[in-house]
Amino acid sequence: MADIRYSAPSTIDEAVRLFAASGGAKILAGGTDLLVQMRSGAVSPGHIIDVKRIAEMTSIAEQNGSFRIGAAASAAVIGEHAALRKVWPGVVEAINLIGSKQVQGRASAGGNLCNASPAADSVPAMVAAGATVTLQGPGGRRELPVEQLASGPGRTTLAPGEIAVAITLPARPKGSGDAYLRLIPRTEMDIAVVGCGVSLTIANGACTTARVSLGAVAPTVLLVDGAAKALIGSKLDEAALEAAAAACRAVCKPIDDKRGTIAYRTKIAGVLLKRATAIAAERARSH
């Protein structure tokens, strides 16, 4: 095995410069995906750029009701942020489902997103939340809706040399709530067979806005507009929930594999939609 170069820059500009300059480089945030992939031989980077020493990428800031989460902030730090937990309980619970206590101390939302697994737990929650990701590359900064970052399993739309800097969760009106549920055969240390994120706002008993997202049922995490449409304008009654569940089932393009059958994944997408919506609605009503 060739030697691996390791850099730990303290600024984003320096990280981008290093990243753009070397061909086989990889960004290291928590390393909980990267190191596993290196050990299995799936990737063998010649240069590792550790972004955990960059303050902007590891901190959380609140501004006018929106939250900016450093892409490399650990799940443990995110889980302890009381204000964030209050406004976006679904996003935080999704991030806090990743791995175990030990993994939580390292794993980041940015890593979860950039690893581009269709089963990544935090991603459907962030997609439902309408989150955007700030990217910085040799050509400067740009913003992207989170659902546009992955283009397939393990593949992203990141330009060469581009780094995810932060994830922004928008400010939201009163009466809003979100939730994320995943189905795993065990109770932890497992990979989602299906994941479902729901974020909605309720005013005068009716759902005024909604976003629904599904993980692990297609090559990328899906934003399910059809399900959102079924919920918006309804009182979240059984008929609306069934229509939204049907919309979820309809967009599923899962595979039959060791983790579940097509029939099972499709069915569960609908089940989780109903359950996650119920939790999000409950949270919206008490906010």
Binding site: T187, K258, I268
Partner: protein
Amino acid sequence: MSSQHYKWIGTRPNRPDGADKVTGRARFGADFNMPGQLVGKVLRSPHAHARIKSIDTSKAEALHGVKAVVTAKDFPEQPNQIVPAGEMQANLRDVTRNVMAREKALYDGHAVAAVAATTSEIASEALALIKVDYEVLPHVIDVDDAMKDGAPILHDHLRTDGLTPPSDKPTNIAKRLEFVKGDIAAGLAKADVVIEREYKTAAVHQGYIEPHATLASATEDGQVQVWSTTQGHFQVRGFCSRLLNIETSQIRVTATEIGGGFGGKTVVYLEPVAIRLSQKSGKPVKMVMERSEVFRASGPTSGGTLRVKIGATRDGRIVAADTTIALQSGAFPGSPVGPACMCSFACYDIDNIKVIGFDVVSNRPKVAAYRAPGAPIAAWAVESTIDLVAEALRMDPIDLRLKNAARKGTKTHYGPTFNTIGMVETLEAAKNSPHYKTPVKPGHARGVAAGFWFNVGADSSAAAHVGEDGTVTVISGNPDIGGSRASLALMAAETLGVDYDKVRPVIADTSSIGFNFVTGGSRVTFATGLAVVNAVRDMIENLKGRAAKIWEVEPDAVIWENGYAKPASSNVGKFEPLSLAQLAAQAGKTGGPINGHAQLNAQGAGPGFGVHIVDLSVDRDTGIVTVERYTAAQDVGTAIHPSYVEGQLQGGVAQGVGWALNEEYIYDAKGRLQNAGFLDYRMPVASDLPMIETVLVEVPNPSHPYGVRGVGEVPIVPPMAAIGNAIARATEVRMLDLPMSPPRLSAALDAMAPKRAAE
């Protein structure tokens, strides 16, 4: 409790190896190193079934840093001869082929070559340079398929053993077994209720956390040293001696601390390869399996297909029991179908029994022992069927079992008649447990199942030495997997009448103590415990002789009591008792060092019975099962160290829950294992399980001075059926195939839904 009159037995001191294990100081298989050692790695077949036309290792050998390459050519051919291997049998012809594929690769992961190199990276690079010319052959994974006419044949020479008349047809069925008691047809004719079902189980792995690891050093003068994580270092010595034609006295094997084995570390995979690589390179060679290699190439236990038919009279008496069991043995013959057949109905006193078994090869890794090999598979089918009988008769499942329970004097269908056993006591303890007496909570359902295991005795050696200060070393030769050091020290302290912390138990290597059969069959506390007790008794005789010498009396005028030599009666004379320390201090003057020895082939291992109760809930939308409460009651003979006995029961249940709900070997269409890792081979994690309650029922084994029965295997026998029975009561869906994973249970619930709606 029978232990009340003991001072040490039945107490719960810290285990002698505990501090090292919790501080990380203990050295496991991969922690042993020698100066100048090489890294050994194995090239494995990517095909389920392929003829090996040629292997070209020249490029690998030429790579800088590669010191040796081996293939099957480096291992001598072996006779078609069966030797005992733990709780199973091994054929040397097959063992050498499993260690290194010869004519054919027989499963995905089968070893075909190995290298030793100066670094891990060079070893990996060398593996990639080995060119194997394979002719891929049709393969077969499933037992039912493997038994069909026209199935791909794994071994051209194989004929079914046990057929009358014998057949000369090449086959994958290695053996047919039959056990008959009474007249099954007559029994069925008497039955008011007859239930018959077909069941399947999946192959499951022992899932020990520590992968196989070994370090071997062969020297120019022919001596070999091996450090290995194994359940039986004498077994490693024996296999390596035969497979490599080295005299046993030239091989010295040290068992490292072991991170789980559960039966899977009673055979050899890496050790013969590491020795050969060391012999060829002249350097020590270390080999450690990756987790994927553990799954692909070390023994799981069988999956199988079973049919069970049970007939009972209206009053709950079982009058006929009939089963056919076909088990996967993996690529070579030797599944645990024998014990599966024998254990099937052993919990019950039934007049008419017929059991037929088939041992079937297919393109999977050769199975190895896994806790009570075969018994859990049989119990899944039998105990599920008995539950159906209880439902049909509207009887309480424990009452039905009580009505038919085996007891002292019951003649089993496989031959022996039971001596003192605790099946009835265990059923009663389960019935009276706090769990069973608590009404089932709304939304939960309860299941019950029983299980049996013979337990094993066999060969053990032990020695005891007194140090000059009167403290004691107890030496035995069985790797400590489940707390056996603590149990052996407790029995030695009890026998000798000294404090537990004055006894230091040590596990010797193969050159430092006489032969010991593997740590398996739940035999160590029983058989090696007996050897330790006998060694201590031998030492006590010696101690009495020393006191007699000091007092100038006859040795039989001295007795040993609570750690002191005392005159047998006042007639002997008036002497102050002599303590162990006092006798040790004068040893030089009375005959030299004070030691004791014992060796034996322990007979009379007491069989064990378990009865498990589970409450669980089923999420009908997802098919997810949550185990809410679990109680394991078991006849444990005497609980020498109750905490470690409870630990055995809890561990068996945890593994059984995984077997029931999620664990399975999954193959793709090409016969490649799809889930060779803990992410997709789903063993339970801590949060999947409630606290597992235990009820220790003590029915002492009359064949052991302290009443010991093995306890380590029975607890994995009942869980699958207990869980299936509870699921049936929760959902009205009777699952017949394992695992009852969420997708499967969900599909079964959905299939049932229209029927329910119609009712």
